[in-house]
Every structure is written in C-alpha cells, then in structure tokens.
C-alpha cells in the first residue's frame, strides 16, 4: 500500500512539476491536494531560500489566487525554517495558484516560485490501511472459528474464577432470602462493555428466576433500562416463571454519575443484598460502590474493561473479571458453541499479535532501522 501511495504522490509531484516547468526546471514550490481528507485543503511546501542563513531573513509569505483571479492574496506567513503550509480554506475543484516569497528586513520580497493544485476529498483513507487489514483479519479468524463450532468441533474453555462464583453467589442469596443487586455501570447502550454486561445479566436473571430470588437492577441510561427490562423478562419466561417477573425490578435512576451512586449506595444499605454484581463501564465511582458493598457484607463480583478502575475492583471485590474476561463471560456462562468458537478465534488473533511482538523484537535486535520500519506498520494516524 505504501508503495502505491508513493507512486500516487510521485504522480502528483510530477503533475505539479509539469505545471511549474514553464518557469524553471526544478520546482522550488510544490502544491498538492492534502491526502486522506474530506476535501477543502491543499498542502504547499517549498525549498529553503538561499537567503535563509542571512540575519535579515524574517520568513516566508504564502499567497494564493484562484484561477481567473488577477491578484495574489496573502494566506499565511511562516517563520524561517518552516517550509510548509496547509491551506484549509480551499474550495473543492477550484484550481489555485500558490506563490511563496522569501522576506528579509529592509529588502524587497523575493519570489521563490509558484505551484498550482485543486483540493478534493478522497474515497479511501490510505493512512488507515493497517486498520482495514486488521479488521478483515480478525473478522475472518473469528467467523472461521464460529463456523467450525457450528460444525460441532469440540471446544475447551479455561476456568474463570469470577464466573465459577456466580452460581455460588446466587445460591447464597437464595439461602439467606436476600435480593441480588446487578449494577450495569455508567455506560450507555453504545458502549460494548455495557452490552456485555447486559448479556451477562440475561444469564444471571435466568438463574434468579429458577430460584425465585429477587433481583434489583438500577439503571443509569434509559435505553439500557428498556433493553434490560426486556432481557430479564425473557429470562423469566424461559425459566418458566413469567409471573415471578417484577416489572419494577429494572428501573431508571438518573444520568448524574454521583446521583446514581448515591441511590445505589442507599439501596445497598437498606435492602442489604447478599450479592452485588458490578458489570460494564465504570469510572471514579467504582470504589465508592465496592467499599459500601463490602461494608454490608455482600459477596461482590465485578467485571469491567475500564483499565483505570480495575485496581479498585480487584482490591475491594471478591472476584473481578478483568478486561477481555468480561467479554468471555457470556460464552462461559452459556457454553453456546458459537460463542465458544468466537472465543477460540480471539485466542488465535492474540497468538498472531504475540508472534508480531516477537518478530518485531527480533528485528530490533538485528537492526534498529528494520525494527522501526516494522513497528511503523502498526502506526495509527488520525
């Protein structure tokens, strides 16, 4: 891809050069459409002026005129050594001529040269080629293993302590005759961690329905509330206990982070749930919730992909699902072959990433330059 973009750039340069050829052989100034953008921008660059080393030299002035216009208008002024300008105010499809002048105190401006270009928007962002390849590769691996699982391949999944504890935690609440609190955090329905949390809720609700253990689900986001209500209702129907479903067990609180925390803390102290689940996206409130819960003596199982909050759950909760474990939970609890298949796909992708890490290290050992070039393949821009 790099070679392609290089070829593309050369072509453009050649085009610009051809335009300037009328004036001089080697172009001192180049102008070309800014790559990978929505349009409306032109990049202008120039060679340093001979006068740059002189003390009186003050910088460059960039001027522009649209085709058909007579006068050049100043669009930018740059400091000595600053040899490029991005014109963000170009109209798509209009041919602009750029003129760069070198300025020196007490002297007349010297024209370095001119160049022309048109701005346009692109249909493919070449800077994101690596992401495209990444998405295609990971999708292919995961879909491949899902299909293999469909065909009945046997799939193993390792023990995840936090999920082993789910049954025990629900059982304990049932024995004690106390409710279970399920907090899906502060994410909205666009947050994948929240969606993972909702799918785990469906599995948990299935079990609380079987045991007829009361379930409390306070919600921070109204759309999450709507979806969770449906999911819990469905879980009760599947368990054959549709009448045990309490419409008010899943409810909206407020969109204020600490208003929500105040209310959930209140629930913990008054309803004294035997088990607290914290699954999904959490921010600073994680420790306030987990410490209050610990004080009431509840078993606490947390799971989040918010790396900054993991330390607090790890210290204050009995079990914590870390990062990817949260996403593996539905597969683990449901043992659905399709889900286990996707988990296997994730592992293969991880293996490939590890291979890249090792390969990069080996390259770095032999040649820093080679290693850096390899690393550049993963660089992300914009």
């Amino acid at each position: 891809m790099k070679r392609l973009s290089l070829a593309f750039a050369t072509l453009l340069l050649w085009g610009a050069a051809a335009c300037a050829a009328a004036e001089e052989a080697a172009p001192a100034v180049t102008a070309r459409d800014a790559p990978n953008d929505a349009g409306g921008a032109v990049n202008v660059a120039w060679e340093p002026a001979a006068a740059e080393k002189e003390a009186a030299f003050t910088g460059y002035e960039v001027q522009r005129r649209a085709s058909g216009e007579k006068e050049f208008v100043k669009v930018d002024r740059t400091a000595p050594g600053e040899l490029a300008f991005r014109d963000e105010e170009a109209e798509d499809g209009v041919e602009y001529e750029y003129r760069v002048q070198a300025l020196a105190a007490g002297e007349k401006a010297v024209v370095l040269g001119t160049a022309s270009a048109k701005a346009s928007g692109q249909w493919f962002n070449t800077a994101r080629t690596n992401a495209l390849i990444g998405v295609i590769f990971v999708t292919a691996v995961i879909v491949f293993f899902i299909y293999r699982a469909k065909g009945g391949a046997e799939l193993f999944v390792r023990k995840i302590a936090g999920l082993e504890a789910v049954d025990e935690a629900i059982g304990r609440a049932t024995e004690m005759g106390k409710p279970i609190l399920y907090v899906t955090g502060l994410g909205d329905a666009s947050d994948i961690a929240t969606i993972a949390a909702m799918t785990i809720l469906a599995k948990v609700a299935r079990k609380t329905a079987e045991y007829e253990t009361p379930l409390i689900v306070p919600c921070y986001d109204p759309i999450v509330m709507i979806v969770e209500k449906e999911m819990v209702k469905q879980a009760y129907t599947e368990a054959g206990k549709p009448d045990a479903f309490d419409e008010d067990s899943v409810f909206f609180v407020t969109q204020s982070q600490f208003g929500y925390v105040a209310a959930v803390d209140g629930i913990m102290l008054r309803e004294k749930p035997a088990t607290n689940f914290y699954m999904g996206a959490f921010y600073a409130e994680s420790l306030i919730l987990a410490e209050t819960g610990a004080e009431t003596g509840a078993i606490q199982i947390a799971g989040t992909d918010r790396v900054t909050q993991l330390p607090f759950f790890i210290t204050a909760c009995d079990y914590t699902l870390m990062g990817e474990e949260l996403y593996a939970a539905t597969a683990y609890l449901g043992r659905d072959p399709l889900f286990l298949g996707s988990l296997k796909g994730q592992d293969w992708a991880k293996g490939v990433i590890m291979a890249f890490l090792i390969l990069g290290t080996i390259l770095l050992i032999f040649s820093t330059d080679l290693g850096l070039r390899f690393a550049k393949l993963f660089e992300t821009a914009g």
């Binding site: 962002n125 495209l132 994948i192 109204p222 991880k350």
Partner: protein, 207 residues
C-alpha cells in the same frame, strides 16, 4: 417485522459505520458527525421513558405508603423543581434552574465524589495484606508510588520518585497494553456477534 427487521437494521448500520471509518470523504464525515448527535437525540426521547419510570416508582411508593415513602416525595419534588424552573425560566446563567444546579446539585455531587478520599484509605487498610505473592506485589507497588508522589526528596532522596515513575512507565504500561489488546479483541468479537445476529438477546422475548 418484529425480530427480523430490527436484526436487519442492526446489520446494515453496523456495516455502514464500519466502512465509513475508511472513507475520509465529506459525505462520510457528515454521517459520522451526525450519528453522534442523533444518538443523544434518541437518548433524550428515551429519557422521557426514564423519567416517567422514576416518577411512577416514587408515586407508587407514596400511594401505597411503602417504607420510606416520605423520601419519595422529596424525589418527586426534586424532579418537578428542575423541570419547572428549566422549562419555565430557561437555562441561562443565574436563572433559577442554574441556581438550583450550582447550590443543590453540584455541592452534593462533589461531596459524593469526595467520599473517595475516605474509601481509598479504608480499602487500602482493609485489603492491602501480604497474603500471597500477588497481593504483596500489589501493595508494594502502591506504597512506592504513593510515597514517590509526596515531597520527601529531602528525606529519602530522588530514588523513590524515580522508582515510582519507572513502575508507572514500564511494568504498569506493559500490563495495561496487554489488557488493552485483549479488550480490543473482545470488543471486536462482541460487536461482530451482534452485527451478524449471533448475539440477539437484546431483542428480548416475544415475537
């Protein structure tokens, strides 16, 4: 209509937004920018449902004189106060709505937030015990970083803050990167299952 159509909509939107990412063109940018705005508009409509749900819950408590019903009156009062001032006088600075925000909501939110200072201390005392090797590493790293961030150079020298910084920059960064790569794969896998309709529990029950 009831199950297939929403799944189809989900599939199509998923593909469109994935492809959009690779197209810098103005149309594509327009779609992305608007998507985020649209999301919050849909959310605001959903909030009508949320607030009605909240009102219903508290009204029921008051009606049936359930435990703590008096406080439900406070909650209902709070909702009406915000809605009446916000729609009655607008939300400019110094409007009744903003006064309510500045002197009622902000102080309570900030106080709730500041409880963390207490809980971080009690959690550290309660749980930072050298029970296992892992627990010991956790507590040692925490203590080093904490001490490294107070002005004690004159007492113990530069090595402590340096060590703290090194832990943050290397072992901590390595762990974070490992977790993040895992999360990235987990999210992509989850999103794929939803787009492809393999994970469809969000539809709920019924037909």
């Amino acid at each position: 209509m009831r199950r297939e159509l929403p799944l189809a909509i989900c599939f199509i939107m998923g593909i469109i937004m994935t492809v959009q990412f690779f197209i810098p063109h103005a149309y594509s940018q327009w779609l992305f920018d608007n998507m985020l705005k649209w999301l919050i508009i849909v959310l605001t409509f959903a909030m009508i449902l949320g607030i009605l749900n909240l009102i219903k819950l508290h009204a029921q408590k008051v009606q049936h004189r359930r435990r703590d019903w008096l406080y439900s009156i406070v909650a209902l009062f709070g909702i009406s106060a915000s809605l009446v001032t916000g729609f009655g006088w607008g939300i400019e600075a110094d409007s009744p709505f903003m006064v309510l925000y500045d002197y009622v909501q902000i102080p309570m939110q900030a106080t709730m937030f500041s409880l963390l200072a207490f809980f971080i201390a009690s959690a550290a005392f309660r749980t930072f015990r050298a029970r296992t090797l892992e627990a010991t590493l956790l507590l040692v790293a925490a203590v080093v970083v904490m001490l490294g961030r107070v002005p004690l150079e004159s007492v113990v020298g530069r090595w402590l803050p340096d060590l703290a910084e090194w832990i943050l920059d290397y072992p901590n960064m390595a762990a974070k990167r490992g977790i993040m790569i895992g999360i990235g794969l987990g999210v992509i896998s989850m999103a794929l299952k939803i787009i492809l309709g393999i994970e469809r529990s969000w539809l709920g029950g019924g037909d």
